[in-house]
Every structure is written in structure tokens, then in C-alpha cells.
């Protein structure tokens, strides 16, 4: 059998398979690639599907989402890409896999500093990098700079310095204080660590309960996940073992990071995708989001979940997300330089 004959047999089958997938795609659907676990936003998506009849498919990817969408090119089924950490979101833009969106609803709901000026990405929620503190330590207010104070020697727990949440915090520090001061800060913070930098944010609470350490930076929403009991009864114990302080930069506000979304360059269901984003930043969507994730809503006027409101008022630091993203690489190199994770 020659090659042409083989081709004539195989290609119609391929075309048939293609036609099948194409016909599935033509029903009202929207496909999300996400680096954050979709289970968290599942309740929102269900409401969206109920209200609009648009079915939502999700694919949870950890690393390599921009690479995958770029490789798939024009055939990519991705409509929306969701990611956490501003750096990872900017990576999508840099990979050239996004497209600019003009939407009045999105622009009205999301403050200008929380979205790309050209409409390539939009923040959907905010999380603050807060401080978990042992109950017997009487700390009411705290600055990030104080983490390096020698009086906390052997008392600080933290996850890897190369984790995006920490890298973003250090990048903000870098943007504010410059390279030399940041290096000093990281060296002193490293000297304060009670154990190797590693694990997750919740391990800070667990290790405080286990009296391995007294304090450490971690994300705000974990407080909600632990204390609400969504993580099981043991985590309620961890969550209740700590006090939570919203630290600020010296003379500034609290460091926040975002979760966000972008519309894919070759989105096959662009209209449905924009509809979904608009739903996610509507009053209803933001409220659901806040209760499902314990994050801060981006839309002014929508209140966070009660567990999170109880932490106190959030004053967001004025440094722009763009500045933070720009200093990320340098911050990551400083982490290596001082041997933070070693």
C-alpha cells in the first residue's frame, strides 16, 4: 500500500474525529485553562451555567500553561486562562497568548490598577500576605521590615523563598528599598528562620501550633480555609492556634497579590468567555468568589467573607502590580544569592 492510499484512508477518519470535536465545541461552551485548582470556583461556574446555559470545561495545569497554549496555537481550545500571582499573569502576556478585550462591565468593576491598561488581563480577586503569630505573642501591628529583626531569631517559619507568593513580596521590598537593603533583609530573615524554608503557607500555622516557630508570613485566604473547617477538623485547630496581623510596609500598606484571567488569543468561544469574566466580577460573582475562596473581592463595595473581614481593615500598598512583576526576576536572584532556601 503506498503512502497516498494510506493517507486517503486515514485522513477522512481524522477529519471525522475533528468534525466531532468541532461539533461539540459549537454548542455554547467555554473552556478554561487554569493554574489554580478549579474546585474552588466550581460553585461559581455552576451558577453561571444555570443562568446562561453555557457549559464550562476546566483544565487544571500547574506549570507550563503559557507554553501549552502557545504550542497549541490556532487549534487551542482554551478560551480563558486563569492564574494566580501577578508575575504568572504577566507571563501570559509576554508569551503572546492573550488578546486585548474591551468590555465596559469589566472596566467598571475592576479598578484600573488591577487590570492591564490594554485589556490583556484582569484581576478577579486579591489576597494579602499577612502574618500568622503565636497566640502568646502580643503583636498588634507589624511591618514586613520587622521580619528581619534579630529579636525573632529562630522564631520565623516561611515557605520557599522561590515560591511566587514570597518572590512577589520580596519584589515589592526591592522596588521600595533597593537591592542592597533587600539583600540585607533577606540575609537577616534567613538568619531568623526556625526551620528550612519550605512546605506551604498552612504549615506556618501548623508549625506555630507545634511550637516550632512563633510567626511567619502567609496568605490571608488560608485563614478562612482553615478556620471555616473546609480543610477538615485538624486544620480548624491550626487556624485557631494563631492570631492574624495585617502587616504593612514601613510607611506603606499591606502587600497584596492577585488571581486573574485573560482571554486566549485564539479563543474559539470568545463571546461566551467574556460573558463568564463579566459574571465573575459582577456583584453576585464577586460575592460567591469571596465566600468560596476567602479572598478579597476586586470590585469596590463587595465585602469579603466574615472570617476575613474579622482580620481587620485592609489598606492595600500603593506600589503598582506592574512594578512588582518587573522586580520579580531580580528578587528571585537575590533569594539564590543569600542562599535563602539552602
Amino acid at each position: 500500500m503506498n503512502a497516498a492510499r494510506v493517507l486517503r484512508h486515514i485522513l477522512p477518519l481524522a477529519a471525522l474525529a475533528g468534525a466531532c470535536t468541532a461539533s461539540i465545541a459549537s454548542a455554547e461552551e467555554v473552556n478554561i485553562y487554569t493554574t489554580r485548582e478549579p474546585g474552588l470556583i466550581e460553585p461559581l461556574l455552576q451558577v453561571f451555567t444555570k443562568e446562561t446555559g453555557i457549559k464550562v470545561n476546566t483544565l487544571f495545569i500547574k506549570d507550563g500553561m503559557p507554553e501549552r497554549v502557545a504550542a497549541e496555537g490556532e487549534s487551542s481550545p482554551a478560551d480563558i486562562m486563569m492564574a494566580v500571582d501577578v508575575g504568572n499573569i504577566v507571563d501570559l502576556l509576554d508569551a503572546g497568548v492573550t488578546q486585548p478585550i474591551k468590555s465596559e462591565a469589566l472596566e467598571a468593576a475592576i479598578p484600573a490598577n488591577l487590570r492591564d491598561p490594554d485589556g490583556n488581563w484582569f484581576a478577579l480577586s486579591m489576597r494579602a500576605r499577612v502574618l500568622y503569630v503565636a497566640k502568646d505573642l502580643d503583636i498588634k501591628s507589624f511591618t514586613y521590615e520587622e521580619l528581619a529583626d534579630p529579636k525573632y531569631k529562630g522564631k520565623v517559619c516561611i515557605r520557599s523563598g522561590q515560591h511566587p507568593y514570597n518572590t512577589a513580596l520580596f519584589a515589592a521590598y526591592l522596588a521600595k528599598h533597593g537591592e542592597a537593603k533587600t539583600e540585607e533583609f533577606l540575609t537577616a530573615l534567613k538568619a531568623n528562620l526556625a526551620r528550612k524554608a519550605g512546605g506551604g503557607d498552612r504549615d506556618v500555622a501548623r508549625d506555630i501550633l507545634g511550637q516550632i516557630c512563633d510567626l511567619g508570613p502567609a496568605n490571608s485566604y488560608y485563614v478562612g480555609l482553615m478556620r471555616s473547617g473546609k480543610g477538615g477538623p485538624e486544620q480548624v485547630e491550626w487556624g485557631n492556634a494563631i492570631n492574624v496581623v495585617l502587616p504593612t510596609f514601613d510607611g506603606g500598606g499591606t502587600h497584596v497579590n492577585i488571581s486573574g484571567a485573560a482571554i486566549a488569543k485564539h479563543a474559539p468561544n470568545k463571546d461566551a468567555a467574556v460573558k463568564l469574566l463579566e459574571f465573575l466580577v459582577s456583584d453576585e460573582g464577586q460575592e460567591l468568589y469571596a465566600h468560596a475562596n476567602y479572598e478579597f473581592p476586586v470590585k469596590p463595595g463587595v465585602a469579603p467573607d466574615a472570617i476575613i473581614s474579622a482580620l481587620g481593615p485592609l489598606t492595600v500598598d500603593s506600589l503598582s502590580l506592574g512594578d512588582i512583576a518587573k522586580h520579580r526576576k531580580q528578587a528571585s536572584e537575590l533569594v539564590d544569592k543569600v542562599g535563602f532556601d539552602n
Partner: protein
Amino acid sequence: MADTEEPRRALSLDRWRGADGGVWLLFAGVVALLVLAPVISLGLIASRGSGDLWPHLIENVIPVAFRVTFILLLGVGVLVTAIGAGTAWLVTAYDFPGRRILDWALLLPLAVPTYIVAYAYLDILHPIGPVQTTLRAILGLTSPRDLWFPEIRSMAGCIILFSLVLYPYVYLSTRALFLMQAAGLVEAAETLGARRRPVFFRIALPLARPAIVVGTSLALMEALNDVGASEFLGIRTLTVSIYSTWINRSSLPGAAQIALLMLFIIVTLIVVERWARRKQRFTGSAQRSQPLVPRQLTGVRGWATFLLGALPVLLGFVVPASYLVNEAWKRIRFNGIAPSILTETGNTILISSIATVFTVCLGLAVAYAARLNRHGIGSVLVRTASLGYALPGTVLAISILTPLANLDNLISGFSQELFGVSTGLLISGSGAALVYAYTTRFLAISVGGIEAGFEKIPRSLDHSARSLGHTPGPVLRAIHLPLLRPTIGAAALLVFVDCMKELPATLLLRPLNFETLATHLYAEASRGTYEDGAVAALAIVLFGLFPVILLARFARPAALTGGRAAIVADGHL
């Protein structure tokens, strides 16, 4: 004219198929190329980088990462060899109560993914976990600070954990070798008055070197390419550096450059090891191999031996598995079972089975080609086909993405032109990409295992069959396959278990709405609800258990060469 042409074509075709196994070699070449494709793709990605990050890497990252990686691998290497070869000798050379159970139970840790074991142990050994709480209660201490306890989030903890999970690779290969080879020489030594223990160090162990190397190198590559557990325990290996470079500094080319450096080092080490034993011959004559008669140990000595052998099983399997059962049970009472877990189990078994079939068939073909072409390019092809195992899963997946998607878009373009219908992502959208990734990654296991199996079949059998005019294909079918069946079974089950546990490539390459047990577990874990993940983790362990038990059944005769010897051994066991 046609009349004169036909016979000539037939003749040349016959030669082509004939003595030198050309078709087999060609096929093995194609397989090697399929494995090489991601490596080439990785090279292309690396070449896009300017290399401007190397001054930083050389100054701040590489020295530490190399040291950490070296210590980790050295530690894991020594421990897996000690545990793996030690237990293999124990159940081969001695007979004691519970030996027959240990014989297969020693394989059980294979069923548990490393990152699950790491999580379980952190929980168990944490100051607020059961072990330290009990210790404090016994000692009458109130504060966790009063009790010194070794920290598992350390290099030593990481080495011990990895070794407890990975030693079965060494146990499996070494036990097989001991069963078939050690007997003659060991008995000769004993006739000359040597006692059994020195015999182990001076005869059995050196003889088992190829098997130990195969097992240890598999274990070391697993340890090297792990991200989950080492990151969790705070150990920053070279692989973790690849991640920081890629994710935090947005430099995929830089990450690719580090990965290639790592690959280069691994290949060099493998070549050096093979070169170092180039003049040694390990294959005995199959017909004469007889199993070693184990020495009876009774009473206290017998039970002590059992406890010693049972320790790795206890720590590597029983403890983490009981932890999982407990967590899963708590979770089921709290939340019930997610209905999706049935579909996910189905997906996992389906995709792992398909990948296993491919991996084993291709591995067989490559190993056979190498046997037919012993002095030529055959062994190069075998080594090339094994390269995929030396790359971290995510790096392999990233490298596969581009060539596959390009192929997809090419097919789609063709179809668009010919039929006016776009086929979309035919390969990467259908799960075929996953099969490709698994096959590339785990081919090393099947090629290695089957190659070792071939080595135990005397070449005189091939020569006799071939001198009677049979071509390589029928010889393989009629002679080798029946003899190789246990080896192939063992390789298949090992590959299957590894496919089931595979996470990073699965996460990146699976199609929309396609979840496996591993991705389910990972999703739960990244939401921070590890206890939810316990059910999926338990399912992975349970479904990993069947193949491992089957493996134990199959692998016994696999240890011996073929028919007669196997029957003798089986009767003996």
C-alpha cells in the same frame, strides 16, 4: 519483465529481513528517534536563550544545587543498594519464618507515590502528630519544645524517605540475579569452607553488580527528577533549580539549558559505569543455573531475620498506607466519596494500560534489535531509547508539547485543504500525547528489564534456530518470547505502576475534562485539603497493589532462565 523483477525483489527483501536483523534495527532506530525528539526539542528551546543567566547560576545556584543533589543521590544510592541488595540476599540465602511473605511484600513500597509518603511522614512525625504526642505523654512533657526530635524536613529525612520508597527497584533486579546466578559460585565457595556472610560481600554482591546498577540507577533518576517530595521537604536539587529558573525568572530557555546539563551528566555517569565494567562478563550459562539452597534459620535468629527484612516494608509501606487508610476513612465519613473518582480510576487504568502496551512492545523491539546487532549500533539505540527517564517529568512534557502540537496543526492543515474540515488537536487533544509521554519516559524500564532478560538466554539457541534458516521474527516468536514471558510481565507491571503514579507530565499534557487519580490527588493537595486527596491516594495505592502482587508472582520464574530452571525453582519456592 515483471517475471524477472519479482524474484529479485523477494530475494533482496529476504536479505533485508535476514541475517543482520536490518528491519529490527531500523525499527529500533525509529523508536530511538521518537525518544530523541523531545531531547532535540529541548535543545532548540535551550538555544533560544542567550546564556546571560549563567554567571548568576554559576555563582549562586549551581555550586549549592550540585552539592545538595550529590549528597542526596549518594545517600539514596548507598541506602537503596544496602536495603535492596541486603533484603534480596536475606530472602535468597536464608530460610526463616515469614520468608515467603517477605519475598513479595518487599515490593509493596512501589505502589505508593513518593510525595504521598513525604506528606504522610511529615504529618505523623510533626510535633502535633501521633508519634511526638505519644512520646511526650510517656515522658510527661507538656511543651513540644522540651522534646528533641529529628526534623524530617532535612537532607537526612529526604534521603531516608526516598530510600524507603525506591529500594524495591534494586530488590527486584538483584533478587532476580541472585536466584539465577549466585548458586553455583556460592556453593563452590562454601565447599571451600567460606561462610555465608563473607560469601555475600565477596562473591554474590560483585556478581550482582549489573543488576544493582540497573536498579540503583532507576531509583536515582526517580530521586533526581522528583519535585513534589523534595520541594515539600525543603531540599533544593538541580531539578528544583530548573523550576525556579523557569517559573520565577520566566526563562524557559535557561531552564532547558540546566536540564540539558543534567542530562549530559547522567549520560556521562552511565557511560563511565559501563566502561568501567566493559571487560567483565556476568552472564552464566543458563542451563546449569540452579537456585541457591537457603540456609535454615530457626528460633530467635529466624524471627530476628524476619524483623530485619520486614523493617523496610513496615516503614516504606505499612506506615504510610495505614495513615492513608485512616485519613481516607475520616474523609469518607466527613464528606462521602466524590463520584468522579470512579471515572478517574477508569481513566487512570485505561491510559496506563495503553501506555504499558506501547512501552513494552517498543522496549521488546529495541532490546531484540540490540541482541541481533550486538557489536554495532544496537547498544547505542538501547541507551538512546532510555534517555527519557533521565529528564524530569515536566521538562519532558514541555519538550513534547511543541513537536506534537506542530504535528497536530500540520495534520489539521492537510485535512482543511483536502476535505475542508479542521481536525483540531488530534493527538494532543485525544490523550495520545499522554501515551507518548509515558512511553518515552518509561521505555528505560522496559528496555532495561527485557535486555537483562535476553542476556539470560544463551545465544546458542539463536544460532541453532538461525542456522536452520529461520529469520529473526519467527525466532523471537518461537524461542525468545516464551522464555521472556516472565521478564516481559515484570517490565509491564513496573511500567504500569509508574504510569499510574505519574503526575507532572499528566498534569500538563492531558486533554480537557480528563482527570486521573494522580491529578485528582494533586488538585486536592493544591487546594490544601490533603485529607480529601487521601481517598484518591488510597485508590492509587490499591490499584498499584494488584500489579505489584502480580509482579511478585511473575517475577519469581523471571529470575530464572526459562523452562526447566523455572520449574525447579518454582517447586523449590
